[in-house]
């Protein structure tokens, strides 16, 4: 047995100890080729953690009542002991900002450093979604710019006016992202410089579009046939920003800010399982390495294991506390399983994963982390072994039938089916209703037509009218929402004057 020379023995932490642990963890992480942004580790109190929560992880946020609401519900739940605060919060920026809570023990701090500063951090830096869609360099500057801009707007146009605008934008936030097109990277410097220019230009474009001076008849005839936009537009906020007839330039800028921030968070929403799984896998591996090298005590590793096990625990569906599939549990299990398939494949694994069974596990894990998002990751790497371990089964809930049906379980006939179903469950484009801008009545009432492509008879819930009201506030003219299934228009919803024509 190796001689133990632990970095620390007590449970208290101080900055020297944090540094020592960070160095040890960093050295090991480098051995595993974890490529990270520099870390900026900030120690904060629990109140500050609640603040950070409330700003949905933005270190600098503009002011809005909804963040206040969020803060108050977190505070209330925390005070009553209904929920503990997360041990950490990490921000996709360069340097990568991670928060440590002051009341954590040194074990927890080390765990968080491994999890956030090396796990999440390397994921942010290397996963293709983050690489293409977010700009870690610019985000903090952009958020500062956004807050300043919105504060200025409040001063100039009144808090109420700005609040109404933000409410409307937030309602459309989840439909304010480009899903397939790569956006121009954010840069606060550029933003500021070009903003004036953009304002003028934008207004001019809008004016062109809504020109009321009659043009020649031929041109008119052409226009009558064409829809605008020519292709349906999935990014509702983008369309509003560019083409809403009545918005002031500053309003367009605010729409743009909300849209940009939504876009920044979009990759995180698509990689929950992977991101948490990756970070959890690495904190587990790194902590165990620390123990193997004799750098931590038995007490330390016991405390760590206790915490780790509760994080990756998956409750069964019939447990009263069941709250969906735990992304930490699934992600951690998948990465661990992937390593197992590489190192110690069974016959079944060779059949299911011929190209990775027996390959170098570290290469494979890095490859998986870099090139997938939740749905494709599951589609590609969920093994029958894991499906059995989780006892996965799929359940069909059809409102035309009186009973639920078990469509597949973890057996030979079911593996493919379950893997598909689970992947779909994580696909944001299926989870969120498919609503796109279809047409604008350029020459008449200027009404805006949205098209909801319905799948499997899954309609919109009642809130949709509320959202339409918000969209109407932005657009300024009537909104029509058509629901289509296949080639048939099934329902129309209008705002103002709500009347369902089935």
């Amino acid at each position: 047995m190796t001689q133990r020379q632990p970095i620390s023995t007590g449970s208290e932490w101080n900055f020297e100890l944090l540094q020592a642990y960070d160095q040890a963890i960093g050295r090991l992480a480098a051995e595993y080729r974890l490529d990270t942004y520099p870390n900026q580790i900030e120690v904060i109190s629990s109140e500050q953690m609640m603040d950070a929560y409330a700003a949905i992880g933005m270190p600098v946020g503009y002011h809005h009542w909804s963040f206040g609401k969020h803060f108050m519900s977190v505070e209330q739940a925390y005070r009553r002991g209904q929920m503990g605060l997360a041990y950490e919060l990490v921000i996709n920026s360069n340097p990568c900002i991670a928060y440590l809570m002051e009341e954590n023990t040194i074990t927890m701090q080390a765990l968080v450093i491994a999890h956030a500063c090396y796990g999440h951090n390397s994921f942010f830096k290397n996963n293709y979604l983050f690489k293409t869609w977010t700009d870690a360099e610019g985000i903090i500057d952009y958020l500062v710019f956004a807050r300043q801009y919105i504060t200025e707007c409040e001063e100039r146009h009144g808090v109420d006016e700005v609040e109404r605008l933000l409410d409307a934008c937030h309602a459309l936030q989840s439909h304010g992202v480009d899903r397939y097109k790569r956006p121009r990277p954010l840069s606060a410097h550029e933003e500021r410089e070009r903003q004036q220019e953009r304002e003028a230009l934008l207004q001019q474009q809008v004016n062109d579009l809504w020109r009321t001076v009659p043009t020649s008849l031929e041109a008119n005839a052409d226009q009558a046939m064409a829809r605008f936009p020519l292709e349906p537009q999935e990014n509702l906020l983008y369309f509003v920003e560019k083409h809403a007839p009545l918005l002031e330039p500053w309003q367009r800028e605010v729409v743009r800010i909300v849209r940009k921030i939504a876009q920044y968070f979009y990759p995180q929403r698509q990689t929950q399982v992977m991101n948490e799984g990756w970070a959890t896998f690495w904190h587990y591996t790194l902590m165990n390495r620390l123990y193997d090298e004799g750098l931590v005590t038995d007490g330390f590793i016991m405390e760590f294991l206790q915490s780790h096990t509760s994080v990756v625990h998956q409750l069964p569906y019939d447990h009263p506390g069941y709250n969906g599939i735990n992304p930490y549990a699934l992600g951690f299990a998948m990465f661990t399983d992937l390593k197992r398939i590489c190192e110690d494949p069974t016959e079944e694994d060779r059949l299911w994963f011929p190209d990775i069974a027996g390959s170098d596990w570290l290469d494979t894990l890095h490859f998986a982390m870099q090139n997938f998002k939740d749905d494709s990751f599951i589609q590609q790497f969920l093994s029958p072994h894991l499906m059995r371990e989780f006892h996965l089964f799929s359940m069909l809930d059809d409102d035309q039938q009186s009973e639920l049906e078990v469509t597949a379980i973890h057996d030979d006939q079911g593996y493919h089916y379950i893997r598909n179903a689970l992947a779909q469950q994580y696909s944001l484009s299926l989870k969120e209703p498919d609503i796109q801008i279809w047409d604008t009545d350029l020459r008449g009432g200027r009404s805006l037509t949205l098209r909801h492509q319905r799948q499997s008879r899954r309609g919109l819930d009642r809130e949709a009218t509320e959202v339409l009201r918000h969209l109407h506030a932005l657009w300024g003219f009537p909104i029509v929402l058509e629901t289509w299934e296949g080639d048939h228009c099934i329902a129309k919803m209008k705002w103002p004057d709500v009347s369902d024509a089935a």
């Binding site: 900055f15 944090l18 540094q19 960093g26 520099p38 870390n39 900026q40 580790i41 900030e42 120690v43 109190s45 603040d51 700003a55 002011h63 809005h64 009542w65 909804s66 963040f67 206040g68 609401k69 803060f71 108050m72 519900s73 209330q76 500063c117 989840s174 439909h175 069964p316 569906y317 019939d318 069941y322 709250n323 969906g324 992304p327 809930d397 059809d398 409102d399 009973e403 639920l404 049906e405 078990v406 379980i409 973890h410 057996d411 079911g414 179903a421 469950q425 989870k431 209703p433 499997s456 008879r457 899954r458 309609g459 919109l460 819930d461 009642r462 809130e463 949709a464 509320e466 959202v467």
Partner: protein, 425 residues
């Protein structure tokens, strides 16, 4: 490469603005809760904030969602006994949700009220929004004769308990230096002379002169010794000046009619009115005393419990209470030290010829001494003699005397606001 930053000193109220925004947006809801809370609480039980709940649907932020309809499929963990093709009765609440979000349930299921706490200050803020004490009170505050001792420098006379040791010792040292200076100078000279003599060869010494010098030196030493170490005139004392300050004490005299005609409901309304007044005064004064006087044909001073909850019946003589109030004020609350507020609640009933007596008591005894007199009449009926009599009082003391009618509980707050609304602006 990692950097560590200690952010703990940075202050924690980053969300304060957002919290204010939230409170601002939901003013109406919160005010309603505050009003309700006022109904439930005891007069003196206001040392806390209030839990406010707002229906979740009112603060919900809408987005496009799928409804529960249609064909939905979900994957769940923890299968125990199911086989492919099994059919199961649909459980209550809509079956297999795929609600894997970690956030506080956005579907709003299971949580239909958003509950949060107002701090005490925020609570009061909402309660007394836009109110202020009648102007005259502020003007008069300066003339109140209350004094407060304040530090007034160092003086030579005082009581031993206020002795300033350091300053006393310092002046003693100075005096000792001054008084001994000439003697010491002489002593030095003599000693030098003596030393010079002693330095001469033994045979040449003038022994007579030497002896004279020795005795002078001895005398001088004695004189130095007699300079007292500490003298009475060295003593210094910390001085206290008495500076007049505006009185920060107030007494609130609550007068309520408990005759047979006052029902429980009337009393409840009166209680809430008193409660509001008490809270309001408490915000403006350090100390607020309460005096409860209840009356039917005769008046009695009682404690809060009895004031609001015990029952009595009989006729009504209002002047008995006014007389009692006047006596109490005279005995216990000199107007120079106390800001006196009176609040009277009644249903307007009074003995026929008593109303004129009331006017006498008010105009001659009570109003000249008090800051404000608020009379609320809790009745849906037409006014009686008392109201008319009081109207004459009001016309004579329009600044200090206010009267309003309350018909039902809902009127209390508006009437209260009306009585104390900001007169400036």
């Amino acid at each position: 490469m990692s950097y560590f930053i200690d952010r703990r000193p940075n202050g924690r109220n980053k969300s304060a603005v957002n919290r204010q925004r939230f409170l601002r947006r939901y003013r109406d809801h919160i005010r309603k809760s505050v009003d309700q809370a006022v109904r439930k609480r005891s007069i003196t039980d206001m040392e806390r904030g209030e839990e406010v709940s707002i229906p979740t649907r009112d603060i919900h932020e809408p987005t496009f969602h799928h409804s529960q309809s249609g064909r939905r499929e979900g994957v769940l963990p923890g299968n125990k006994a199911f086989h492919q093709g099994d059919r199961i009765a649909r459980p209550q609440g809509g079956g297999s949700g795929s609600g894997g979000q970690g956030q506080a349930s956005p579907d709003g299921e299971g949580m239909d009220e958003f509950v949060f706490s107002l701090t005490r200050d925020e609570f009061m803020e909402f309660l007394f929004e836009g109110l202020e004490l009648p102007n005259l009170v502020k003007n008069d505050l300066g003339s109140a004769e209350e004094t407060r001792p304040i530090h007034g420098g160092i003086v030579r006379e005082g009581t031993p308990s206020r002795l300033h040791v350091v300053r006393s010792m310092r002046s003693a040292y100075a005096r000792r230096l001054a008084m001994g200076a000439s003697v010491r100078r002489e002593l030095k000279a003599c000693e030098a002379e003596r030393d010079a003599l002693l330095a001469q060869p033994a045979g040449l010494q003038d022994t007579q002169q030497l002896a004279a010098l020795e005795s002078t030196i001895e005398q001088l030493r004695q004189r130095l010794k007699k300079v007292p170490f500490l003298d009475t005139e060295d003593l210094r004392y910390r001085h206290l000046k008495h500076e007049p300050v505006p009185s920060t004490k107030a007494v609130m005299v609550c007068i309520m009619d408990v005759s047979g005609s006052m029902t429980e409901q009337h009393k409840d309304i009166a209680k809430r009115f008193f409660l509001l007044l008490y809270l309001f005064l408490e915000r403006n004064y350090d100390k607020v005393d309460l005096v409860f006087i209840r009356h039917h044909t005769s008046a009695r001073e009682v404690d809060e419990e009895e004031f609001f909850y015990s029952r009595e019946t009989g006729g009504t003589i209002v002047s008995s209470a006014l007389k009692m109030a006047s006596n109490i004020i005279e005995a216990r609350y000199p107007p120079a030290q106390w800001n006196i507020y009176l609040a009277q609640a009644s249903d307007g009933d009074n003995w026929d010829d008593d109303s004129d007596v009331c006017v006498q008591w008010l105009t001659q005894k009570l109003l000249p001494k008090s800051r404000y007199y608020a009379y609320v009449e809790i009745t849906p009926h037409a006014h009686q003699a008392l109201w008319e009599a009081y109207e004459t009082v009001q016309s004579r003391f329009p600044e200090r005397f206010a009267m309003r009618q309350i018909v039902e509980a809902g009127d209390i707050f508006p009437v209260f606001r009306d009585l104390f609304k900001k007169t400036t602006a």
